[in-house]
Subunit: 369 residues, 2 copies
């Protein structure tokens, strides 16, 4: 997000940097206390916390920052502990989702490092332990993700009564969790059931998946959560959602484009990873709808083949471009972004918050990683 | 637990039955509302809730009942909504742990039915979907477990301020989650690293695993949670823990014995399942410490072989009996149970609660399933 600092007023940039630092310190302190507790009671299990700490050190902190500016825009105080704890909870939830997502997608890398299950697998091989390294890696990562999910909740509850039973902030946090898990399931389902479902509705299905799995979770829920925590009125929280939904959709379509066309050096993921994983994104759905029958068979037969050759990735990329799907996706990003910016201009927030949200929006849709 | 009703006074039995019914109704109502929400927003994802509802219909409800009598013993009211919600949260947490545990252990069955990942696998085969059924089954069950874990938290928070930030009940719930996940990790670790670690400490390691993974979670935490929720004083909650720890240890060693010697018709699990999974239980640790070198090699080479023949299960059972490990495990159960009963007699609770806890203790350690 560094490339965007110039668009931020100096005071806003300094405030945001201070919040980021508080979230990083909050994460580290919270995880240190958990590690210490385990080191006393069950030292061997402290590696689960190590894996979580390592993963949460990276990342763009998009969700935490949106929660912060949502909080500020609704009248919350600068660098308030509640906003920091909300950021910590969101970052831990994101880490838990990534750990389990990488198991599901069999991803080898995450944020430029080996994914958590691969790290545990390597530990098994290094130590020369018995039975299968892959199975151990999966089990350890599954448990690290479960622990991370529980810790996210613990951090969220620590916010206090503002996030307690019956509050709007709690309702948003709960809805976020259910929708992300439902969306991930729809994604997995589409990989296996997509080919037997009506092709004409493929783009609609892809849009529903991206809304649940990513758009609402990456932008709408964090921003609204921050607003609700600060006691923002329902109209403001609604206006946040209206701005954030097209932004989140554009964000995820950008992600899908990067998943096929991104530069591995920038994304930290192998080129064409989404194609090997068989992800039926908006990009793929558009292609299926616009190419010839033989091309469609060619694509269907190759999607989800984990051993796909680089040359095949290249052929599929050509097809996606040739079919007009890439252009269609870029146009969707364009239109959604324009809608988001229009709604951003109408948000009843001060210039500082508006500027910060604009910079985050730019980073979300114009990024290369 | 039906066989134990005769030992309960009629009034106690009726109260317990009423609570069980409230928990069952609470679970069903809560999951129905979640299913309805998903059916509106993302109908295909409602199967995740179906899987959870199906699994939570079974089970002995040991944890919910311990929470209830802990609550009652600390002065909580009969069939109070707080106690019902705590029971619902504990049952959902148990279901989440079982779903993920069955993935880790590659278990085919649970509570006499196919395990959740196997159910999703079968769905894939029935529908003739593309890509691998096993992979889909794992992904769907992993997400169902994640959702179940989140719903458990949602149910726990719904108790209200008594379970809010900074309360003793919340501290116990948080500790329970961390310890179960740490304990499951220690269990997985021992399967792969056990053979390269000092055999003399194998029983101690097995005891630590069972304390974290099961004993504290199955008895100590639910009972203390109920007591803390009702505002029980720290001495009472401490006395609960002193009674429940040996009980939980005896409970889990009984489980380990059933995992090797249990009747599949009663346990709902194949005979010798723990041996095929490579579980290094107290039973196995005792055997490793008491048999000859060639016998130890024989056992080490076969533990964790998922395709183990029934005749090999028979041979390993003979070895466990011959080595004196079964007798040693039964003696541990005896001693721990005696310690638990002695402490139960000293608990400052009324005759009704004492009688109910005694019946639950009997069920936990004298069961055959």
């Amino acid at each position: 997000m560094d490339q965007l600092r110039p668009t931020l007023a100096a005071g806003t940039a300094a405030e945001q940097a201070a919040y980021r630092q508080e979230v990083a310190a909050g994460l580290a302190g919270f995880l240190d206390s958990k590690r210490d507790a385990l080191l006393k009671a069950a030292p061997d299990a402290a590696v689960l916390v190590d894996a979580i700490a390592d993963l949460t050190e990276g990342g763009k902190r998009l969700r935490a920052l949106l929660a912060y500016w949502g909080w500020r825009g609704a009248g919350g105080g600068e660098a308030a502990p509640e906003a920091v704890r909300a950021g910590v909870a969101l970052e831990l939830f994101q880490a838990a989702a990534l750990i389990h997502d990488d198991i599901i997608d069999r991803s080898d890398t995450r944020r430029g490092k080996p994914s958590v299950h691969r790290q545990f697998e390597s530990q098994h091989r290094r130590r020369g332990w018995t039975l299968e390294p892959e199975r151990y890696g999966l089990a350890a990562a599954l448990l690290a993700g479960d622990l991370c999910l529980s810790l996210s909740e613990e951090a969220f509850t620590s916010i206090g009564p503002e996030a307690g039973s019956g509050t709007e902030a709690r309702r948003i946090f709960d809805q976020m969790r259910t929708e992300v898990m439902a969306g991930q399931y729809l994604d997995v389902l589409e990989e296996v059931a997509g080919p037997s479902r009506p092709a004409a509705a493929a783009v609609d299905r892809a849009l529903q998946i991206l809304r649940f799995k990513s758009a609402k979770y990456s932008t709408v829920h964090p921003l609204c959560l921050g607003g609700a925590l600060a006691g923002g009125d329902p109209e403001l929280v609604h206006a946040y959602a209206e701005f954030a939904l097209p932004l989140g959709e554009a964000f995820q379509i950008r992600d899908d484009v990067l998943g096929v066309f991104g530069d591995p050096a920038a994304t930290g993921k192998p080129a064409g990873d989404d194609l090997r994983e068989g992800k039926r994104t908006v990009l793929v759905a558009h292609t299926l709808n616009s190419c010839s029958d033989p091309e469609r068979r060619f694509l269907e037969e190759r999607l989800g083949s984990s051993l796909m050759a680089d040359s095949t990735v290249e052929e599929l990329r050509d097809l996606i471009v040739r079919s007009g799907a890439l252009a269609a996706a870029e146009q969707m990003i364009e239109e959604l972004t324009a809608a988001a910016y229009e709604r951003l201009d109408g948000l009843p927030v001060g210039a500082e918050v508006g500027g910060a949200l604009r910079a985050l929006a730019d980073a979300a849709v114009r990024r290369n990683a």
